[in-house]
């Protein structure tokens, strides 16, 4: 299929240089692409869609008249990352995870970093994600963020920038795993020829990490799901199946004498580790949100007594707040005495007067985000918004400055993507997954989310984003 006439525009393109030359790590793929007719490419795309449907790789969307279940479109042109580029990413992500974990342990215990004035106390202690109930707690093995899914983008300068540290049960890893299986069927020879690092042992690594949290020789592990109506239910059941552990929901569990039991056909059975995919405050109505019907009454007391391990530990949310994000480079320096390997996006905190004034004056150049919102909601992309929207956000910021941060608009890199009009560039981000078990490990692969609409920068699945398989080369 032809790629002549492909325009990488003013953005960084992962496959082509600005002069239109194929980058070295895409050469083999480019060869395959040249030999494949457009018709065949569209056929491969069609088969991939069919396979996804039959696998039931769906996520649920509300307020959408297309029905409850939707497929996350998987584009068949992969995003390829050369090995040396990956090595740097890997080192940077390990460093960041390590520092954030130390930060969490500190702010719930000694609070040295607050006392030393590196991070403002009120930012942390007044955050709604700072859980009073966790003060003085050290989770099993001192690990807070067991599973992290950091969002990064590559800007015009060809450098990666961290966008968000997702420390509260990030989703999407099942797409990384299933997409790889589908794409392997599309280009079987290429995998032989070029060598792509495997991701398929992720469930085994995840299980080992979870088992590591208990001192029992054969701990009972479960995945705790909010249930079938949760948008990531497919992933919850997929991971439980792949790990060979129970998928439990709140109603299946019962706490007696600070011990958590599953209700089985043969009576009660103790459970030792929960990979919980329920938000902190829904875990236990007795400790947190009393209206939660998803959690288990008494779970938190059992956790405090050391009778159940929870991954991720409750309370991690405070560290991936968009305002705390601005302090991460300082956090890394403070605990590790190292320069951050990966870049932060310059961030204006509307809580600071000077920053706020700058944001109000330059709102048409900036991306404004709510500190506590996820999924691309509560967000203003200045250059693409109308004057009315600018004014609306100015008022919002003035009304509640601590709730907003702003960043310069980043130009997300593009990857060639199969569209009805041939192959065109589409913007992407990158979400690698990091496991913190006996050591910190970055899985050599990622979820690449792609904004399928021409020119769009919003990659979220709930707003018209798709995905790409991500190849890390040997």
């Amino acid at each position: 299929m032809k790629t002549e006439g492909y325009k990488s525009g003013e953005h960084y393109d992962e496959m082509f240089t600005p002069e239109g030359k194929t980058r070295a790590h895409y050469l083999e793929f480019s060869e395959t692409l040249k030999k494949t007719t457009a018709k065949k490419m569209h056929h491969l795309q069609f088969s991939a869609n069919q396979t996804q449907r039959s696998m039931g790789m769906t996520f649920n969307v509300y307020h959408d008249n297309q029905g409850l279940e939707k497929i996350l479109h998987l584009d068949i042109i992969p995003r390829i990352i050369p090995n040396e580029e990956w090595r740097k990413l890997e080192a940077g992500l390990k460093q960041r995870t390590n520092a954030l974990n130390m930060f969490l342990q500190d702010i719930y215990n000694e609070r040295k970093i607050l006392k030393d004035g590196i991070v403002p106390s009120d930012l942390i202690l007044k955050s709604k994600d700072y859980l009073e109930a966790c003060v003085g707690l050290t989770p099993p093995k001192g690990i807070w963020c067991h599973i992290t899914g950091t969002d990064l983008v590559k800007a015009k300068d060809g450098e990666y920038y961290i966008l968000e540290d997702n420390l509260r049960c990030p989703s999407g890893v099942s797409y990384m795993l299933e997409s790889r299986e589908i794409i392997k069927r599309a280009y079987p020879q290429l995998f032989y020829k070029r060598g792509v690092m495997p991701v398929s042992n992720y469930p085994a690594k995840l299980l080992r990490m979870l088992q590591n949290l208990s001192d029992k020789p054969k701990p009972v592990v479960g995945v705790l799901t909010p249930g079938i109506y949760n948008s990531a239910y497919y992933e919850h059941s997929y991971l439980a199946l792949q790990m060979g552990v129970e998928l439990v929901s709140g109603v299946d569990l019962i706490v007696e004498n600070k011990i958590v039991y599953m209700q089985t056909t043969q009576g009660l059975q103790q459970i030792d580790v929960l990979y919980r995919r329920i938000d902190d405050t829904f875990l236990d109505p007795l400790t947190f949100n009393p209206d939660s019907m998803l959690g288990v009454p008494g779970l938190f007391e059992a956790y405090k007594a050391g009778n159940i391990a929870l991954a991720n530990a409750p309370g991690t949310g405070v560290a991936d707040d968009k305002a705390v994000y601005a302090y991460v480079p300082k956090i890394i320096k403070y605990y590790l005495n190292e320069e951050p390997i990966l870049n932060n996006v310059p961030t204006y905190l509307c809580r600071e007067e000077a920053d706020r004034q700058y944001v109000l004056d330059h709102i048409d150049e900036l991306v404004v985000k709510e500190t506590n919102a996820a999924g691309g909601y509560g967000m203003l992309i200045g250059p693409k918004a109308t004057k009315e929207e600018h004014d609306k956000f100015r008022e919002l910021i003035k009304g509640n400055p601590t709730n907003y941060i702003a960043q310069p608009t980043l130009s997300l890199s593009t990857v060639p993507t199969l569209t009805e009009d041939g192959i065109e560039g589409r913007h992407v981000d990158l979400r690698p997954y990091i496991l913190y078990g006996q050591e910190i490990e970055v899985i050599p692969g990622a979820l690449t989310r792609v904004a399928l609409k021409k020119g769009s920068l919003v990659v979220n699945s709930s707003q018209g984003g798709g995905s790409k398989d991500t190849w890390v080369l040997y």
Binding site: R53, S54, M55, G56, I228, Y233, S237, Y238, A240, L241, V245, E246, L247, V248, S249, G250, V251, D252, L253, I254, V255, M262, Q263, T264, T265, Q266, P285, M293, V296, P297
Partner: protein, 326 residues
């Protein structure tokens, strides 16, 4: 195994079996109608009656032309027992517990669901000859059984699904026998005529029993058909066989290898099994087949309730309680 999961597996078994039975009923009835004289075409009412949803049908329809009945039995979402509804329920149960199914079993039930949606889109019930579609549905379910049979471990989950499947099958065999028998019986003077033969053949074919029956009994006689479908020891759709298999599933689940019973479900099913095992067809007919089958269906329901209270009910750690399926 989690009680909630066992519950879903049990109902997965029941819904799949229900869907497969309906697909076959429709297929066989179509065949029958092609063989009937012109003035006797459109014999769809008895089939609707056999499903137990005659009342619901009449609420939404006038008359029994094939398109209406076909739509009602296969695609009507207002009918909780239509193939579409049961396949959707089966898939929903499978989706909830898919970590307990093999990947292929899940994928086949998912494909089955999309097959039905496609049927709705193509308006299969308006087709002159829709049999190919129902054949496909039936085969998809049989394929699913086959994959499960050769890939699933014989642990609790397996036995809960089998349990649901066999109880559902016993119920369906009893229903089709009940209705057809009573339509066929009054035409005593027609016994032995080609028309009569066609009807009995259709009944037997509805439960895939025709060939086996012929081999065992040769001629078609009402009492023999009843005996075969109620009490045959070897035919996998006879009521006795289904109940015996379901009993064995319950014993596997509780680990009862001694015979007798360990709980109320085992007691109820053991009682029913021995009644069937030591019954006599003459007595059944003298007692009244309809009354006999009616009681049998009630017993199957009460066994299902016993299974629910022994294995599926979970202690409420809040105040809400899940509603049972049916």
């Amino acid at each position: 195994m989690l009680s909630r999961v066992a519950n879903h597996i049990y109902w997965l078994g029941r819904y799949l079996e229900r869907a497969e039975n309906y697909a076959r009923f429709i297929d066989v009835n179509f065949n029958l109608m092609q063989d009937l004289p012109v003035d006797m075409k459109e014999q769809w009412m008895p089939l609707v009656a056999a499903t137990g949803d005659l009342e619901l049908y009449n609420q939404h329809n006038d008359g029994f032309d094939s398109k209406k009945v076909l739509f009602f039995l296969a695609f009507d979402e207002r009918n909780p027992n239509s193939i579409l509804s049961t396949v959707r329920s089966a898939r929903e149960n499978a989706r909830i517990i898919r970590e307990n199914l093999s990947k292929e079993t899940w994928e086949k039930s998912n494909e089955l669901y999309y097959m039905l949606l496609e049927g709705v889109e193509k308006k299969i019930w308006k087709k002159e000859d829709p049999r190919a579609f129902f054949e496909k549905v039936k085969n998809q379910i049989l394929l699913l059984y086959g994959i499960a049979d050769s890939s699933l471990a014989r642990t609790e989950g397996w036995y809960f699904r089998q349990l649901g499947q066999f109880l559902e099958r016993a119920d369906k065999t009893s229903r089709i026998l009940d209705v057809k028998y009573h339509i066929l019986l009054p035409s005593e003077d027609e016994i032995g005529t080609p028309l009569d033969f066609l009807h009995w053949m259709a009944l037997l074919k509805s439960v895939t029993a025709f060939n086996t029956y012929r081999r065992v009994y040769g001629n078609i006689a009402p009492a023999s058909v009843v005996e075969f479908l109620v009490m045959n020891k070897y035919f996998p759709r006879s009521i006795y066989y289904c109940i015996k298999e379901a009993e064995s599933c319950l014993h596997h689940i509780s680990g009862n290898s001694e015979g007798g019973f360990n709980n109320s479900a085992e007691r109820a099913i053991g009682e029913l099994r021995s009644k069937l095992e030591f019954g006599d067809v003459g007595e059944i007919i003298a007692y009244g087949l309809h009354e006999y089958l009616d009681e049998l269906q009630i017993k199957i329901n009460s066994i299902s309730n016993c299974i629910n209270s022994n294995y599926f009910i979970i202690r409420d750690n809040f105040s809400s309680q899940s509603t049972p399926q049916e």
